[in-house]
Assembly symmetry: C2
Homo-oligomer: 428 residues x 2
């Protein structure tokens, strides 16, 4: 029987869960893959830290980089995290030394994936990263295998559980951003430093990876990214009144042979599928030919769901199935053009908090008209206690650039007392 | 470069679509799989039928069985259909002669899958059947690969687009079964003879296949199957009033080491995910450990979606990835016990159309009490024009057997003027 000697580097929640899983499920994995998975080595930053796993002294590597040159290592599982430093050193060295690599590191793959794939390809080893995008959802394997026949025109969805938890809790519990963030931290749904989750960076890395898999293109940094920090209770209430939910959505889309990648809070119809995705769930929607629209939904994070993804990668390698990390060889991947969000058209929700005096409304609508943005709906809500008003405008389909110009111009006006809001609408 | 010589047998809508797809997408498939797919031969019942495809005379086989012994055939794609006859002969002979097989034939796999897998295994060839279950949804590949790490406890969902179209149209358009069926036929959503779609047989075959993949068991004929033919407008209206939708759902579930397979119309909460699946869509929900709940949704039928699935199988074979057809070898598959639905517990909706006279309600509730089924809710609606009443009862969780006994006993009563209804409720 074939064997696969594994080194797990990084023993946080995920590494420890995986270690235990592989020990407890060796038999069934061996039967399914015709290959015995053996955790030969483990390593992490601190040897003496209290850990929940039992291991043999011989398994411990004092220097994690040893895994990259020991002859009894076939596969290195990188669970350190971060695009630079130790993780980068480990994965580059591993592939150079002809070791297979499995990683959950979206930042590393989004930044260095193309370079790493080239080395993996040259050395005929696997580089697999199912766990880097949407935890337990088998989205990468589905794109590479189950949906291989399809020409994909659009992929979008909810790729970050933390921000989705916050938005859906603000909606359900009628609470403010900060209150809900505190809840999320207490429940373990947000990290102590949740900035990458909230500012859209986490979604950005995932979307870049999905884009290259969907469109057979190289990774590309042209991406518009906006997080959820500025969404407040009033926007959520307004959205509900207008028949929408607010979700942080990543979109990647091919239009006229140009790809546009964007991540931003989005108003979506409250009877749409994606509006129903609450809490920490992730959901990916793929428009492809010939298959039509496909949806994959599930647990996007946490040690258990991530282990499910890691084991699918380990199994693929166990079966001796060498594949290109991004489906196609570097030579065959396309140099597609990436388009800026500025040239795309959206209908949008804008909210202006103004001092209520004559001429304000006329001035605002005038600025819209000057920028050739036509107004579909306008709601002015006076605030009884103060001399202020809230003006909510829904536009018809308009160029992103024009919407931004309006925002910039109105922001400067003296009658504005709070930073105006612009949230794009997706009518699908 | 490696080549894969393919014979497509059966040239209906699906076979013709696949033939064109493979010709038009040869380059990208070759790049992705490192192997050239070549349609060497085709065959179908009638040679002279008008077809939408162009082919070379040399490609045509007068006797479709030739494909099973010609040395320049590696893979046979069976698109004849039916569990017996030509399809059976073709697939058995192909595997015996060491040809790979890809099939969309759920009836054949559900009936002979275990025997066929054994031959495929012995001869080290692939038998793949992604297209046999839920068209374009990559459910089988996800179970075998993307979700390989998981111990699955339950799989359920909407596996038949025709019946789902009918039920959701009855609901949305407030029409009767027969009217909607006529519409469905006109729109191409129902075949001329739709009996297998409507009586649950189609779902039954799919569920048997999914069961063996999820629980590593053999195919098993112990399955409760009930179709949608007896659902009428009144039931749909009642369901709505009670906060439910009616869907034809297939369930397979492991409880106390016994598997229970069942297919029946089901009342499900109208705010649940599955209630939102309308029209011809399919959706599969999987509860697994460690991944949690995963959902895959998409187009369940039609030549385009089915081709997506067939090509994923062809690609898997192209990559030279020999796998056990049911994930595990015959030797390792489990002989699990299958439980009858009779021992399971459900809450249920029962509807009795009765002649309205004194004592009827008391007699009915008495029969419930005698069978130890407790009533959660009872609604009696008098019909103004006649001396008849409709009695709708929602029960607490009760043994299936007891529910059936009640149904049988009440049916015999003289005050009943129409066959009573029993529809199980799923509270998840």
């Amino acid at each position: 029987m074939r064997k696969l000697n594994i080194a797990i580097i990084g023993l946080g929640n995920i590494g420890s869960y995986l270690y235990k899983y592989l020990n407890e499920n060796k038999k069934i994995l061996t039967e399914k893959n015709n290959c015995i998975p053996i955790v030969k080595y483990i390593s992490a930053k601190k040897r003496n830290k209290k850990r929940s796993i039992n291991f043999n002294k011989k398994q411990w590597l004092n220097n994690y980089l040893e895994a990259t040159y020991l002859s009894d290592v076939d596969l290195i599982i990188e669970l350190i995290g971060g695009a630079e430093g130790a993780a980068k050193k480990l994965v580059f060295n591993a592939l150079k030394n002809k070791k297979h690599v499995v990683t959950a590191n979206k930042a590393l793959i989004a930044k260095y994936g193309d370079q790493l794939a080239k080395i993996a390809e040259k050395n005929k080893v696997n580089l697999e990263f199912e766990a880097s995008v949407c935890g337990g959802l088998p989205i990468i394997r589905s794109l590479k295998e189950g949906l291989i026949a399809n020409k994909i025109s659009k992929i979008y969805g909810i790729f970050n559980g933390t921000s989705n938890y916050i938005l859906s809790s603000m909606d359900k519990k009628n609470k403010n951003f900060d209150e809900v963030l505190t809840d999320a931290k207490n429940l373990g749904y947000a990290e102590a430093n949740p900035s990458a989750d909230l500012n859209g960076d986490d979604v950005s890395s995932k979307l870049k990876i999905l884009t290259s898999l969907c469109f057979n293109s190289f990774l590309n940094d042209k991406i518009y990214v906006e997080g959820i920090k500025e969404i407040d209770k009033t926007d959520i209430i307004n959205a509900n009144k207008l028949g929408y939910k607010i979700k942080l959505i990543g979109f990647s889309e091919l239009l006229k042979n140009k790809i546009c990648q964007r991540v931003h809070p989005t108003l979506i119809k409250n009877n749409s599928y994606i509006a129903s995705i609450d809490g920490v769930l992730n959901a990916v929607i793929i428009d492809g030919k010939p298959v039509g629209q496909s949806i994959i939904q599930g647990e996007g994070a946490g040690p258990a769901a991530t282990t499910s993804a890691l084991v699918s990668d380990i199994s693929s390698i166990s079966r001796g199935n060498i594949k290109f990390p991004f489906s196609l060889s570097t030579k065959e991947r396309k140099k597609l053009k990436f388009d800026s969000i500025d040239n795309r058209f959206f209908s949008a929700y804008l909210r202006f908090e103004v001092f209520d005096k004559p001429g304000v409304l006329s001035n605002i609508t005038n600025i819209f008209s000057k920028n050739k943005v036509s107004i579909k709906r306008l709601i002015q809500n006076p605030n009884k206690n103060k001399k202020i008003s809230s003006i909510v405008i829904i536009t018809h389909n308009s160029k992103n650039n024009s919407l931004n110009k309006i925002l910039k111009e109105v922001t400067k006006k003296k009658y504005i007392f709070k930073k105006p809001k612009l949230i794009r609408i997706d009518e699908n």
